[in-house]
């Protein structure tokens, strides 16, 4: 087990390295000169050249690349051109905001989604099962930025119940914070919730028709225990896999959701960084997203091994 875990951790390194290389190549391909962007249209050629030297952009590309990799290995992620602050500080400043909505969204999605899926599986072919599954299908098909617009239109513009954008602050009371979170969270949790509902239903259905569950029932074990203790445990592995995927895509979803609701998180920051050709910030944020993705996958694999001992990564197919 330990050997497998170590092997998986080692496998993450080339992945991150490739992400860094991709980001470096892609950012340098973005048309426009960051030095000129920083100084604005009035800057003279000499100023721009001086700025390039300051930012290290006058060096040949391969040297910039090596510098970047060496810096990252020393945990120095550079300084943002736009904010003139270390990239790590900027990420540390923004990440709580993104986590604030994405974690809440994920937890809500997990509870409601798995709940709905369980209900559907236990009441297969009932009216509510159909209703829930149609809703889940709509949920996975909905463009969340459109959903965001519609929610704002109904709840902010028409009804005036909730603020359309911004983050709110604790100084105005708890409700200010909560009310600002409701719409972005609703937007962000739609897809994971629908996905959880679908996967839970199918996984549960597979499990409850198993002989082992029939045997438990035959032994007179209470229905609650059969469902919540035995069936759910066996239905968990696919749900965990989906959970891992959804954590990763929640960050991606945050990019769109934050743009709609002007939420000051990682998503709005990276979109700004791209439009402003802030190489260091783009590289830093992308690497951060990739790191989260890789770590979550690693965690999921480990949980998978724990809850499903039949899975062995030793001789099996490498993922």
């Amino acid at each position: 087990m330990l050997k497998t875990v170590l092997k998986r951790i080692l496998q993450c390194i080339p992945t991150l390295f490739i992400v860094m290389t991709f980001t470096f190549i892609l950012t340098r391909m973005i048309p426009g000169n960051p030095a000129a962007t920083i100084l604005g249209p009035q800057a003279s050629a000499a100023d721009i050249a001086a700025m390039e030297v300051k930012l290290g952009l006058d060096l040949p590309k391969w040297q910039q690349y090596i510098n970047y990799i060496v810096d990252v290995l020393q945990l120095d992620f550079g300084t943002s051109y736009m904010y003139n602050q270390p990239v790590l500080d900027l990420i540390a400043e923004r990440i709580p905001n993104t986590l604030q909505i994405s974690l809440v969204a994920l937890v809500v999605a997990l509870i409601l989604g798995v709940g709905a899926g369980m209900f559907s599986a236990l009441h297969q072919y009932s009216v509510l099962d159909y209703v829930l599954m149609i809703l889940a299908l709509v949920g996975v098909s909905i463009p969340i930025f459109w959903l965001g617009l519609m929610l704002v239109n109904v709840f902010s513009v028409e009804l005036g119940w909730l603020p359309p954008l911004g983050r709110g602050s604790l100084e105005n009371g708890l409700w200010d914070v909560v009310s600002h979170m409701i719409l972005p969270c609703a937007c962000l949790c739609t897809i994971p919730m629908a996905t959880f509902a679908r996967i839970t239903r199918s996984s549960m259905l597979e499990v409850i028709h198993n002989d082992s569950i029939k045997a438990l029932r035959a032994r007179g074990i209470s229905e609650t225990s059969v469902i919540w203790k035995h069936a759910l445990k066996n239905a968990l592995p696919p749900i965990v896999t989906v959970l891992g995927l959804q954590i990763a895509s929640c960050f991606t979803g945050a990019i769109l959701t934050e743009t709609i609701f002007s939420w000051p998180g990682m998503g709005t920051m990276i979109v700004n960084a791209i439009t402003n050709r802030d190489y260091m910030l783009i590289q830093g944020v992308v690497l951060f997203f990739a790191l989260v993705f890789v770590l979550v996958n690693l965690l999921v694999d480990m949980i998978y091994m724990l809850i499903n001992p039949r899975v062995s990564y030793e001789g099996g197919d490498k993922k």
Binding site: Q11, P14, T15, L16, F17, I18, V19, T21, F22, T23, L26, T27, M29, I30, P31, L137, V138, V140, S141, I142, P143, F145, W146, L149, M150, V152, N153, V157, R198, I199, S202, A248, F251, T252, I255, L256, T259, I270, V271, I274, T275, I282, V286, F289, A290, F293, V294, D317
Partner: protein
């Protein structure tokens, strides 16, 4: 009695044979993929939606009397139903229904195109990685992992900033972004298929690698690929809309569902119908492709049923 019985039995056997052959034929017909799909009601709803959208896209100019590009400020911001405009008009007075119909063309072309690009590249990489294994496999799959770790929308945003907007570039960006998932699916399949009996048999009689890949392995990866591609088109429609929504995909005056939605976003206050209706088309179409994809999966591979 004996004399009577014999011909009867013989006749009965012949009849029985004929009958069972008839049955077999009927069963074979009933179990053909198409007929199975036809019995799947939700898949049929999906197929209907998808066909309808393709029909709209192909025959857009014949379906509405309005010009999709003609600006007419006098008729701007008409609500649905006003002045003969079923869906109303947009901010410069173009008929919204016409825009949405023409948008179907661009959105579907981008979605199909992106999926084809992703499919072709992904299939080749997946085939090579799965078939040759070893170092080749490791290198290809690590690169694919790297791309997967890159959040898709970010990759697409950066690619669009590099390439500039336009239909072809959106196809390319969506295509490239989806390569890794196709490569993974195909690689997984190849891993299973290449050790099947018939592949070993082919190897024994000295079939070349290329022939092996394209005549023995590729055809057997088709069913998961069809499923994956159908669901991929749904995702690509959303991706196009997302990119256009961020102002990086297809922009005015070209109509795509995403670009109409992007325009509509700015007029949510007075004319929410622009964004509402274009987004509703996206939702329904994506739903259609998802239903169809789920249905095809159930038919082609009962083991994959979800």
């Amino acid at each position: 009695m004996m004399e009577n019985k014999e011909p009867v039995t013989a006749g009965g056997d012949a009849l029985g044979m004929q009958y069972s052959e008839e049955l077999l034929k009927r069963e074979r017909k009933a179990n053909s993929a198409w007929n199975k799909l036809r019995r799947n009601k939700t898949a049929m709803v999906g197929l209907f939606i998808v066909s309808l959208m393709i029909f709209i896209a192909v025959f857009a100019p014949l379906l509405t009397p309005f010009d999709h590009a003609k600006i007419n400020p006098a008729e701007a911001f008409m609500a649905p139903g006003e002045g003969g405009h079923i869906f109303g008009t947009d901010h410069v007075g173009r008929d919204l229904l016409t825009r949405v119909f023409y948008g179907a063309r661009v959105s579907l072309i981008v979605a199909f195109g992106g999926t084809v690009v992703a499919g072709c590249l992904g299939v080749i990489l997946g085939l090579v990685a799965g078939f040759f294994g070893g170092v080749v496999d490791s290198v290809i799959m690590r690169i694919m992992d790297g791309m997967l770790a890159f959040p898709f929308i970010l990759l697409a945003i950066i690619l669009m900033t590099v390439l500039g907007d336009g239909i072809f570039n959106v196809i390319l960006a969506i295509g490239i972004g989806n390569v890794p998932s196709f490569a993974r699916v195909v690689r997984g399949e190849v891993h299973i298929i290449k050790n099947e009996e018939y592949c070993n048999a082919a190897r024994v009689i000295g079939v070349s690698n290329v022939r092996m890949l394209f005549t023995h392995i590729l055809p057997n990866t088709i069913s998961p690929l069809i499923v994956y591609a159908t669901l991929g088109i749904a995702g690509a429609i959303i991706s196009e809309a997302a990119l256009s929504f961020l102002g990086l995909g297809i922009s005015e005056p070209t109509a795509s569902w995403g670009s109409i939605l992007q325009t509509g976003k700015n007029w949510m206050d007075g004319s929410p119908h622009i964004a509402t209706l274009s987004g509703a088309f996206i939702l329904v179409t994506v739903l259609g492709f998802n239903l169809l994809g789920d249905g095809i999966r159930d038919v082609l591979d009962p083991k994959m049923k979800k």
